[in-house]
Amino acid sequence: MSSKDQLQLNQWTTLLEPKPQEYRKEPPREPPPQEPAAPPVARQDEEPQVYSVSDINALIKGQLEGQFKSIWLQGEISNFKAHTSGHHYFSLKDDSSQISAVMFKGFNGKLKFRPDNGMEVLVRGRVTVYEPRGNYQIFCETMEPVGAGALQKAFEQLKSKLQKEGLFDVQYKKTLPLLPRHIGVVTSPTGAAIQDILNILGRRYRGGKITVIPARVQGEGAGAEVVRGIELANRLGGFDVLIVGRGGGSIEDMWCFNEEPVARAIFASKIPIISAVGHEIDFTIADFVADVRAPTPSAAAELVAQSAGELSERIQNHLRRLTQKMQFVLSHQQSRLQNKMSRLVDPQRRLQDLAMRADELQQRLILAWQRQTRDLRMQTRLLRERLRNPRTVVESYQQKLMVLRRDLQKEIKHWREQRQRRLVAQISLLDSLSPLRVVARGYSLVFAEGQIVKDPQQVKENQELTVQLAQGALRVSVIAKDAANIKGMEESWTSKKN
């Protein structure tokens, strides 16, 4: 905190500290004046007394100022004017009436809020009369806002002031520790808030140490105690987080959390602060300055507990992801290894293949060699045999020759026999067909000049013919030619026979 801030803080502390209770709707400690007594105006029965304006104003001044030396007056500010001199001029009014009012610089400088139109205020002062104008007014010495509206005003004023100073800026928000080991709770040790907080933390988060930093959170001096608690925690150190707050109540009950010193102490704290004031709907200045605003004290405890629960989940999630990834890496590497190993085996197998192939080739080579040599050997043997036994060759040829000769003889013999047979057959046939056989049976053959005569035309008369008979031949001459048939021939043949 800068020295300027400190100065301001001190200034505000002194301003705020005196009588916070006076903010509340309490009856003024000094009762308003009773029914005013009858004005002590001089009464002249006989003759009307004539006053000068000055006289009467002076008289009224004396009367009024003597009567209303110190009164409490409540009303709504209107026609508010802050003069350059520093004095405030305004009116106080109610539903049907109004009164002029003035508050001098020396008095209004002590105010912890800025008076403004529409503000309901309770002032203490005296009635004064301004003789030159015949006006009277209330001369205010103190002024306090009245009711929630007025507190709201004060709240808004402080809020906008601190906002302008940047106390609510996100850049100043400290992040809560992930796992608070030591939790400080600035609150009343007898209040409802600490019970709620311990209840929740006891049930949902048993991982930390909790220190209750006692501070009254209600009534006069509460703000200062809260400030002292925050500062003490910072001085002692060792706290991971502070919960500052109280349970629900009226706006006046919770007012200390709207005080500037509290706001500045929260802002100055090195320890992250969770504000936890009242109920969900209650917003205090402390909520705006705090690093995190919890709607209730219970919620503040849940924030702490929740972060522990979330952490557990996060860690388990990390562990799960790690394991999954590791399994993946392992299986991936394993498959790579297997791949590599299978490729390592390959050359070996290739060697085996080559060896087998070499064996096979060798085998084939041997077989081929064997076959070749066998063939060659056989050939050689044959050749050798042929070379070694020419006699055998000769013998074989002789034998062949013999066979051939025998065959030939046989063949010749056969041929001759066959011819013989055929000849005999032919002879027999010839014999059977021989004209001699016919002649032997009685027939004759007539030849003319060596030609058989079958037709008389072949011969001439007196031509000499030869007639062949079975037992000899006749030489005859042609007497006449007769175209006779075979009958005539028969006769002829018969006659000749005879």
Binding site: L198, V212, I315, K325
Partner: protein, 71 residues
């Protein structure tokens, strides 16, 4: 190493593992460290001890004066 550092390291390890391009040897080392870290972190989370104290003030040495507190 405090809890947050451990957690940050665990997160770094998970990120590295998932980022790929880590040799098998490094993966195994990271995995072992990660599992170790997650165990100790979880253990710290699960510590069942809870102490509640009331702060009385500061002694002359600046130390906290406390007494057990029961709400």
């Amino acid at each position: 190493m405090d809890f947050e550092k451990k957690l940050a390291r665990l997160e770094e390890i998970v990120g590295k593992m998932e980022g790929g391009d880590v040799s098998l040897e490094d993966s195994l080392k990271l995995f072992e460290e990660g599992v170790q870290l997650s165990r100790t972190c979880q253990k710290e989370l699960d510590q069942a001890e809870q102490k509640v104290e009331l702060l009385l003030g500061q002694d002359a040495q600046g130390q906290a004066q406390t007494q057990p507190f029961k709400a």
